[in-house]
């Protein structure tokens, strides 16, 4: 059987052929041993897969799983936290500074002030200034926008019994 015929046989099994072609395939299967064997194999595979998912259970209790779903729903539906609104004066100032004035500020800054020496500030995502912990390491996930700093605090030789962060007891 050529490949197209094999695909047609599959479509016949899946009930995807128009009536006339389906009859042709039905007839082929009675005459051609290879076709019959292939059809049988495809049918067995389908039988094997049927009900496979039926035995799979979510490995969390009803209450626990629901509490997570409910919490997420409530979080998404909660109104945004209120923050102190900008003062009236600040809002006025923003209104009174058109883009052209801002451009003038930039020009003035550039023209009037010439830095001597290095700025020392980069545009890198993160700069460590001081790490009290020599055993720490940093990991950055650029795609997710997450930075992990893993510390050896509390030190392995101290306070293994106590909860240094103070709230797990």
């Amino acid at each position: 059987m050529d490949y197209n015929a094999q695909l047609k046989l599959q479509a016949f099994l899946d009930g995807e052929l128009p009536k006339a072609e389906a009859s042709e395939m039905a007839s082929l299967v009675t005459r051609d041993r290879e076709a019959a064997a292939l059809l049988e194999e495809l049918r067995n595979t389908d039988k094997v897969l049927a009900g496979f998912e039926g035995g799979i259970e979510l490995p969390e209790s009803r209450d626990f799983f629901w509490s997570k779903v409910q919490r997420e729903i409530q979080r998404l539906e909660a109104p945004a936290p209120k923050f102190a609104p900008a003062s009236l004066l600040a809002r006025w100032r923003r209104l009174l500074v058109p883009a052209s004035a801002l451009a003038l500020v930039l020009v003035t800054v550039v023209v009037l002030i010439q830095p001597v020496g290095q700025f020392g500030r980069t545009s890198a995502a993160d700069i460590e200034t001081a790490l009290a912990d020599a055993g720490a390491f940093t990991y950055r996930d650029y795609e997710a926008g997450t930075t992990l700093v893993w510390l050896s605090y509390p030190a392995d030789n101290e306070g293994a019994e106590s909860d240094e962060m103070g709230t797990f007891e």
Binding site: Y3, Q6, L7, Q10, A11, D14, E16, E34, A37, L38, E40, E41, L42, N44, T45, D46, V48, L49, A50, F52, E53, G54, G55, I56, E57, L58, P59, E60, R62, F65, W66, K68, V69, Q70, E72, I73, L76
Partner: protein
């Protein structure tokens, strides 16, 4: 409705109540269909943690979109479609290593499965249910995500050929090739596993 009422109510009644904001009714729907949604996610993702997270996300989306559920399909089917789309989004986002083996390339052009001998004996005959499920699980895990996805959509989700291309963003010809390859590959894997396990 009380919790007792909810447990005896049909899905339609629960959906209507949930659409009015009845969280307890929605909780009952979650309890009824959570295994099915999780199973679908697990079949696609092959990772328990990811499947749990995506199931959770699917339920949250289900709640948000309840107003859109018109009853054209069963509630369970509607929810599985949500989780399938989430899984597909996740699979596309993930950077998966794709081995450019000859077999992998042939899988698309329809070469390998032509040479596979037909499996004439049912490789799963005589197996207990649990053992069978384990074997299928292992075999599914060895398929590429494209082949596993088309199998899940066709065999578990019972999608017709014409429905799958839109979901998988490929042509109907590709769907048919992938499905054929996936089925034949699965049969071969199950036969091999039987041989290995009997040694």
């Amino acid at each position: 409705m009380t919790a007792k009422d909810n447990s005896s109510a049909d899905d339609q009644t629960l959906v209507r109540a949930a659409q009015q904001g009845d969280m307890a009714a929605f909780e009952e729907l979650v309890a009824r269909h959570r295994d099915k949604i999780y199973a679908r996610a697990y079949s696609m993702m092959r990772n328990e943690e990811e499947a749990i997270d995506l199931s959770q996300e699917a339920w949250v989306k289900g709640w948000q979109r309840l107003a859109q559920f018109q009853g054209d399909s069963s509630f369970g089917t509607w929810m599985t479609r949500i989780v399938i789309n989430l899984c597909l989004d996740q699979l596309r986002k993930q950077k998966r290593q794709r081995t450019e083996s000859i077999e992998a390339m042939d899988a698309e052009s329809g070469g390998v499965e032509r040479q596979m001998p037909v499996i004439t004996v049912n490789p799963t005959a005589g197996l207990e249910r649990g053992e069978l499920r384990q074997r299928i699980d292992r075999a599914l895990g060895q398929l590429s995500y494209e082949h596993r996805t088309v199998l899940v959509l066709h065999e578990f989700e019972e999608m017709e050929y014409k429905q799958i291309p839109k979901t998988m963003e490929c042509s109907i010809g590709t769907v048919m090739s992938r499905l054929f390859y996936a089925r034949r590959k699965l049969a071969a894997l199950l036969a091999d596993l039987k041989k290995l396990d009997s040694v």
